[in-house]
């Protein structure tokens, strides 16, 4: 009897305290929107090339900070990030750590994931600040140092003005206060993932992040961990606070059981996979702090089309079959778990068919009944992912270490035909392409050598380039930035841009330890402003059930990153700076000494002439006497040198010299102090 009230009492106390605290913190108008929110989602998608894409999406929201932001208490939102936003007044920021290269051909280039989560290798950071123009650079430098400490990465190298740039219009519409920098050679590993996970309220102890088994993630073909911050409050929109989106995109190769057999016999059959087989773990429970915790399985439009084609043949309406068995099994694959609901994409742009989303809620599952979604392929199916209108690749031309050329090649993917109708606005169909390229200063680009080829034919630059902004690189100060807007006719098959450059020669200290490996030119960003990667799963945009799906609905331009280029630079001999210094100095000494020697050399008669002059200066009488005596003795006359006089003269000279030197020394000492 006596035991019973105690827990209830303490529970009551805790609850009431919490309410009081939160009431104090949030003010009197305690509203639903003022709460901090966290949600976790995972999207799985089979890829055409026998791989699986896993896209984790964690979103934390903090309510708008009140005017007195001091001593603010956070429940879910990471305090470090909130402080960072407040301190540097970050309007928008995106930081990504990527290993591997996104394969735009096979993994798609037109969906929201590929345009916003496919990132260049290494570290990419951009941030927009809400500070006056002259403070932007200082804020950027501070931010890089802070992030460097937060994420255990060498982001602080982005502090140097040679590594970051200020794109004006081609990268992000809101700019001016935007800075962009990349570190192509940053190695990404668990030491970067762990601090990233620490920002999640459940870390990797519960919820979907349990799946992040390090070995299986880093075994993947591509992984990109990203952190995106938006704080619209600086723009005057006070209704929403800081939004932190953490995403991890992984492309994994499922281990197909008995791989050797199936691979050789039926190459087209996709490997079956389950969560436990690709991650080595199962989802046991949701993160209790998360508002929503969902897993989605996405079938791409291309795959759905293939399935529907078969349906027409077999007259099995698999997707409209309301029974749960229809969702789970169809002629192509079996799902091990029944989805909670099925969503179809609306307003699809890609051809005839739209993608399908199976939704699973993790809340139902527990330790005793872990969630392990499995996909078992039964018959081979071939499909392709939606592509960006032009496939971009970049390469180097030329040989040797003196000069070369950068070429960006754009090849039509055949997608344009679908959009011919959509984009004819001003009578003629034009395909607009934005290119943003940053080139480090030691690659000295001659921008006047820009040449454009369309369908293999050279074109006048002014015909194709609609708008151009170049800020040439300055040695050891800033990188070269080129922003271009190109307009091609819609039926363009291929296009290429070339730029010639000279390779720079650096000081011996400026080379990295492995200088002969070469230097990286960061990826160029090719974006298509008229094409937007957005996928609607809901008719009404007000439905904000899933942050990830609403992110997919956002209007974002299709964007792709080109390859990172490796430029080998000539190296000096690192081993012998002393030799060079001594040899050069010897040559200079040779020059100085021998020339001075030639100039002051006197041959016989000149010396005699000088002696004559010196003798004339001496006493006339003594000179006469000595001359006389010389004549008498029949010897050649020589000017007599009185030892006493000369010695006194020399000593006087010596004293003067010593005094002079000491004077200089004292003056120097005094001056230097």
């Amino acid at each position: 009897m006596a035991h019973l009230p105690r827990p209830t009492l303490s529970l009551f106390l805790v609850l009431s305290l919490q309410i009081i605290f939160s009431a104090i913190a949030f003010g009197s108008d305690f509203q639903e929107s003022d709460e901090e929110e966290f949600s976790e989602e995972l999207l799985l998608r089979p890829l055409p090339d026998r791989k699986v894409l896993a896209h984790f999406h964690f979103e934390s929201r903090a309510p708008p900070s009140l005017s007195d932001s001091h001593g603010r208490h956070h429940h879910l939102f990471p305090k470090a990030i909130a402080q960072l936003v407040q301190k540097f007044r970050v309007k928008e920021m995106e930081l990504s750590f990527t290993q591997g290269r996104w394969n735009y051909d096979r993994w798609g280039g037109f969906d929201p994931i590929s345009s916003s989560n496919a990132k260049p290798p290494g570290v990419e950071l951009w941030a927009a600040f809400d500070v006056p123009q002259y403070l932007v650079d200082a804020s950027w430098k501070n931010l890089t140092h802070t992030l460097s400490g937060l994420f255990c990465a060498s982001i602080n190298f982005l502090e140097s003005s040679t590594t970051y740039s200020a794109p004006e219009w081609s990268f992000h519409p809101s700019s001016g206060s935007l800075r962009y920098g990349t570190l192509p050679r940053e190695a990404v590993c668990t030491e970067n993932l762990t601090p990233w996970l620490k920002l999640l309220p459940c870390r990797d102890k519960a919820g979907l992040s349990v799946l992040m088994d390090r070995p299986s993630i880093y075994r993947g073909f591509y992984h990109s961990q990203q952190l995106r911050l938006t704080s619209p409050e600086f723009e005057g929109r006070l209704e929403s606070g800081i939004v932190l989106k953490q995403t991890l995109t992984v492309v994994l190769q499922p281990d197909s059981q008995g791989a050797s057999n199936t691979y050789s016999s039926e190459t087209k059959l996709q490997p079956s996979w389950s969560l436990s087989s690709i991650f080595g773990r199962k989802v046991t429970s949701r993160c209790v702090l998360a508002k929503s915790s969902n897993i989605y399985l996405q079938l791409e439009g291309g795959l759905v089309t293939e399935l529907e084609n078969v349906r027409k043949e077999n007259v099995i309406s698999w997707i409209d079959n309301v029974g749960s068995e229809g969702w789970r099994t169809n002629p192509f694959f079996d799902l091990s778990v029944n989805p909670d609901s099925v969503l179809r994409e609306v307003n699809s742009l890609h051809g005839s068919s739209s993608s399908v989303l199976y939704e699973y809620s993790v809340a139902k599952y527990s330790d005793s009944r872990p969630f392990d979604l499995g996909l078992k392929w039964k018959s081979p199916v071939v499909w392709s992912c939606p592509q960006a209108p032009l496939h971009a690749s970049r390469f180097l031309m030329g040989s040797g270490n003196e000069r070369g050329a950068i070429a960006i090649s754009l090849i039509s993917t055949g997608l344009n035909e679908h959009f011919l109708g959509a984009n004819i606005v001003e009578g003629s169909c034009k395909l607009e392409v934005d290119i943003f390229q940053v080139v480090p200063w030691y690659v000295k680009v001659y921008y006047h050598t820009l040449r454009v080829f369309v369908n293999g034919q050279p074109q006048a630059v002014t015909d194709v380039v609609e708008k151009m902004r170049v800020s040439p690189s300055e040695d050891k100060v800033s990188p070269g930035v080129m922003e271009l807007v190109l307009k091609f006719p819609c039926d363009v098959k291929s296009a290429a841009l070339t730029l010639e450059f000279d390779k720079g020669f650096l000081h011996i200290d400026e080379y990295p330890p492995d200088a002969n490996q070469g230097f990286d030119i960061p990826s160029a960003i090719i974006s298509f402003p008229n094409f937007h990667a957005r996928t609607h799963y809901f008719e009404d945009s007000s439905l904000k059930r899933s942050p990830m799906l609403s992110k997919f609905q956002e209007k974002s331009r299709v964007r792709s990153y080109s390859e990172v280029l490796l430029v080998p630079l000539t190296t000096p001999d690192f081993s012998m700076p002393y030799n060079v210094i001594t040899i050069t100095c010897t040559a200079f000494a040779l020059y100085f000494g021998s020339l001075l020697n030639v100039l002051r050399r006197r041959v016989g008669e000149e010396e005699r002439f000088l002696k004559n002059r010196a003798a004339k200066k001496a006493g006339r009488l003594a000179q006469l006497l000595s001359m006389l005596s010389a004549k008498i003795r029949g010897k050649k006359w020589e000017h007599p040198q009185s030892p006493s006089a000369s010695s006194s003269f020399i000593s006087l000279k010596l004293i003067v010299k010593v005094v002079l030197v000491t004077g200089i020394a004292i003056a120097w000492q005094y001056y230097s102090q």
Partner: protein, 476 residues
């Protein structure tokens, strides 16, 4: 006898012009080779200062209404940019890309050669006159055997492979050389405005010719090269002592008349020169100021041109030694060595000026040779200039030592340097030291050339004095 000599002379003149025309044709043929034989990208030919490609980039930036000095591409003069810039863009169908620029450089080369020739003729006139004045024994021994040094120098300049390469290889050094030679010519002819113009433009274009102000003043003050003034005095003394006392007065008058011509320092042309110099400088500065007004003004211009030259920021290889030195030297010594190396050019100015003040043209040659050896971004165009000027002193320097060795050295270095560059940069089988070794050898050759030519010139003066002193000694 007379007509025969005249026809011979005519023949010689014809011979000269034939060679000049042949050199022009040779250049045009080379220009029409595809891609200019890739000479434009040779590090020996185009330095960051003289490369026409960088000039084209600067012009392109200017056309985009950006500063031509934005980016570290162009470091030359804004006047040259507005002069040559439009020519880099103009293309003529079916002709090589930079035909117009090449033609400008060919014309500059021809004008250079003509000016050198005129200077040489002037020098030679003075030389024969002074020899006659001294009644020199050598003259009587070999009558009329003075080589026409002007023609020789002009042809040496025109046919020097370095000049040809610099002209065809689209570097702006022919224009810079033109300014220097113009100032020398003007000073030799004692035309202060022309000399001042040349000097101001040369200094504006490449800074180092600024040290030529000393030979300019001496040339304008004393006139062209003569044997040392002391010799004339000595000669007068000898003559005076020789003559019997009765007709001494009239003889002395004559001697005074004869020998007084070379040694009076006339201030008038020098003051004229300074006035014109300030005038031209103001003019050039105003023009520059107008052209860079919206890009940061004159200070920015000086920082981007002269600052770039003096601080050796570009470490790309060239035939000098400073690029490798500053690529390897420790950063905290950098300023010290910059001062030392540039000081080296200045240190020798005064001793040379004292010792060679009677030969201002030769002094100018030595200055040019020294600055082209020690400048931060030397190219073969600079060597072409001093090698051409060397031809002017072919009579005086006839007894120069090591001339064959030097010739072989120049040939060897100019053949080896491309090979080493290829091994290092293109093939990757050599390393930087290979190329640096040729640069070092080249620097040493230039040092020997300068030292030996100065020594030969001083010896020549001694030789002129020898008969006089012997005469004096015998008398005593």
């Amino acid at each position: 006898m007379e007509p025969k000599e005249q026809s011979k002379e005519k023949k010689e003149k014809l011979w000269f012009w034939n060679w000049v025309i042949a050199s022009v044709i040779f250049r045009l043929v080379l220009i029409y080779f595809p891609k200019n034989l890739n000479l434009a990208s040779r590090p020996e030919v185009s330095t960051p200062l003289t490369s026409l490609r960088r000039l084209a980039e600067g012009y392109w930036l200017k056309q985009l209404s950006m500063s031509p000095y934005a980016g570290s591409m162009y470091h030359g003069s804004p006047l040259l940019l507005s002069l040559l810039g439009p020519l880099t863009v103009k293309r003529i169908e079916g002709q090589p890309d930079h035909l117009l620029c090449s033609l400008v450089f060919v014309i500059a080369d021809i004008v250079n050669a003509m000016l050198i020739r005129a200077t040489g003729q002037n020098l030679q006139m003075e030389y024969t006159r002074s020899l006659k004045l001294l009644d020199h024994v050598k003259l009587s021994e070999k009558p009329g055997k003075i080589i026409p040094s002007g023609d020789i120098a002009a042809l040496v300049y025109l046919w020097n492979p370095f000049t040809i390469v610099a002209c065809v290889g689209l570097s702006t050094s022919p224009i810079e050389n033109l300014a220097i030679i113009l100032s020398l010519y003007g000073a030799c002819k004692r035309q202060a405005p022309l000399a001042a113009f040349g000097w101001v433009i040369a200094t504006h274009l490449s800074l180092y010719p600024a040290i030529l102000i000393i030979p300019m003043i001496l040339l304008l003050g004393y006139g062209t090269d003569t044997p040392p003034r002391k010799l004339f005095l000595q000669r007068r003394n000898v003559e005076v002592g020789d003559n019997p006392p009765n007709d001494r007065c009239c003889e002395r008058e004559e001697v005074v008349h004869r020998s007084e011509v070379p040694h009076v320092f006339s201030w008038r042309p020098v003051i004229h020169f300074f006035c014109w110099t300030s005038l031209w400088s103001v003019y050039v500065l105003v023009l520059c100021g107008i052209s860079v007004k919206q890009y940061g003004g004159l200070w920015e211009l000086f920082k981007r041109t002269y600052g770039f030259m003096l601080t050796v920021q570009d470490l790309s290889p060239n035939i000098g030694v400073l690029w490798y030195f500053f690529a390897e030297v420790f950063d905290f010594f950098r300023n010290f060595f910059l001062i030392v190396f540039h000081g080296n050019i200045l240190f020798m100015m005064l001793p040379l000026a004292i010792r060679l003040k009677h030969r201002p043209c030769f002094l100018a040659f030595v200055y040019i040779a020294i600055s082209s050896m020690l400048k931060s971004y030397p190219s073969v165009g600079d060597s072409a200039l001093y090698l051409g000027l060397l031809g002017l002193f072919v009579n005086e320097l006839a007894d120069m030592q090591f001339s064959f060795f030097l010739f072989c050295g120049y040939v060897g270095v100019s053949l080896l340097s491309p090979v080493m560059h290829n091994l290092w940069i293109w093939r990757g089988t050599g390393n930087a030291n290979f190329y640096f070794a040729t640069a070092m050898a080249y620097a040493c050759l230039q040092i020997i050339l300068v030292v030996e030519s100065v020594s030969a010139m001083l010896n020549h003066d001694r030789k002129l004095r020898k008969p006089l002193t012997e005469l004096q000694d015998g008398k005593n």
